[in-house]
């Protein structure tokens, strides 16, 4: 229960940050990667702000043996660059460039009552579900080891 409430608060803070940063505006995303046209560098400042905070904060969290409310830290340990990482990032890049929307803003913007975000979110959830159902690891064919 505590971790659920904590997750809600973290999501709330994250969503406020996304909205203030302007990242729920697809035009700002598209113009950030439009290096040959009208360029809006704002996204770089969002990344810098987030990286400063997490870059300082993350090592501090790891000074404890375990998180405040949960049993253990679940931090990715993989360091290999595999075809799935590259292919997945490339597919994401195409979709991001076409829509100007990435997963975080697509969820936060559901609060704004705009049809475009509902359409995008439904399609994104379907895309994620399709991968989950068809990939060998984490699919429904074999029950996940709890």
């Amino acid at each position: 229960m505590k971790t659920t409430i904590a997750a809600w608060i973290c999501g709330l803070v994250f969503g406020i940050g996304l909205t203030i940063s302007g990242m729920t505006n697809p035009e700002k995303i598209i113009r950030f990667v439009d290096f040959t046209g009208q360029w809006d560098p704002s996204l770089a400042f969002v990344m810098v702000g987030a990286l400063i905070m997490f870059g300082i904060g993350f090592p501090l969290t790891q000074r404890s043996a375990k998180p405040l409310l949960a049993q253990a830290f679940q931090v990715p340990t993989r360091r290999d660059i595999d075809p799935k990482l590259i292919g997945g990032a490339a597919l994401f890049g195409v979709g991001w460039g076409l829509s100007g929307i990435c997963p975080g803003p697509s969820i936060t913007a559901l609060a704004f009552g705009l049809t475009n975000f509902y359409i995008f979110f439904a399609a994104m959830a379907l895309g994620s579900l399709i991968f989950g159902m068809t990939s060998a690891k984490g699919g429904t064919a074999t029950p996940a080891a709890a």
Binding site: T3, A6, A7, W8, C10, G11, V13, F14, G15, G17, T19, I20, S21, G22, N25, E27, K28, T36, Q38, D40, S42, F45, V46, V48, G49, A50, L51, M53, F54, G55, T61, P67, A70, F73, V75, D80, I81, K84, L85, G88, A89, F92, V94, G95, W96, G97, I101, C102, P103, G104, T108, L110, A111, A125, G127, S128, I130, G132, T140, A146
Partner: protein, 142 residues
């Protein structure tokens, strides 16, 4: 190239708040704030659905809180057509799952931990998005 609509101060403040949220989730729950991964774990839902659902609900409430406090919507210009939104959404959903992360998981939490996977992923998706936008805005849209 000309620089337009540049909003460095809100961008920096928003970014700091995003970094704070990611730090809090790690400190409290020991989890990476990767949005595509948190959402993906709900599709289909498993035994850890409650915290994932709560985080997603919090993201929406963050947008609501902005509207309630400021009394209006943030600036939003979305010119993509419905077929583009559907195609783009499918690619974002599938690609972020396949590539184990998106802007938050790889871009913030990955690079923030100096993860080589986060760095490579971020360079690729920004590069591919730039090529995509060049084609749609300047080759096809010209």
């Amino acid at each position: 190239m000309e620089i337009v609509n540049f909003t460095p101060i809100p961008a920096l403040i928003g970014g700091l708040i995003i970094g704070l949220a990611a730090t809090l989730l790690m400190w409290l729950n020991g989890r990476i704030a990767g949005i595509s991964g948190i959402l993906g774990g709900l599709l289909p839902p498993g035994s850890d659905a409650p915290w994932r659902l709560a985080f997603v609900a919090g993201l929406v409430c963050g947008g609501l809180a902005y509207v309630l406090v400021t009394g209006g919507l943030p600036a939003i210009v979305s010119t993509a057509s419905t077929p583009m939104l559907i195609f783009g959404g499918l690619l974002v959903g599938y690609g972020t799952r396949m590539g184990s992360g998106c802007t938050s998981g790889h871009g913030v939490c990955g690079i923030g931990r100096l993860s080589p996977r986060g760095m490579v992923s971020t360079v690729i998706y920004i590069g591919v998005a730039a090529i995509t936008v060049f084609i749609t805005q300047h080759v096809l849209g010209a």
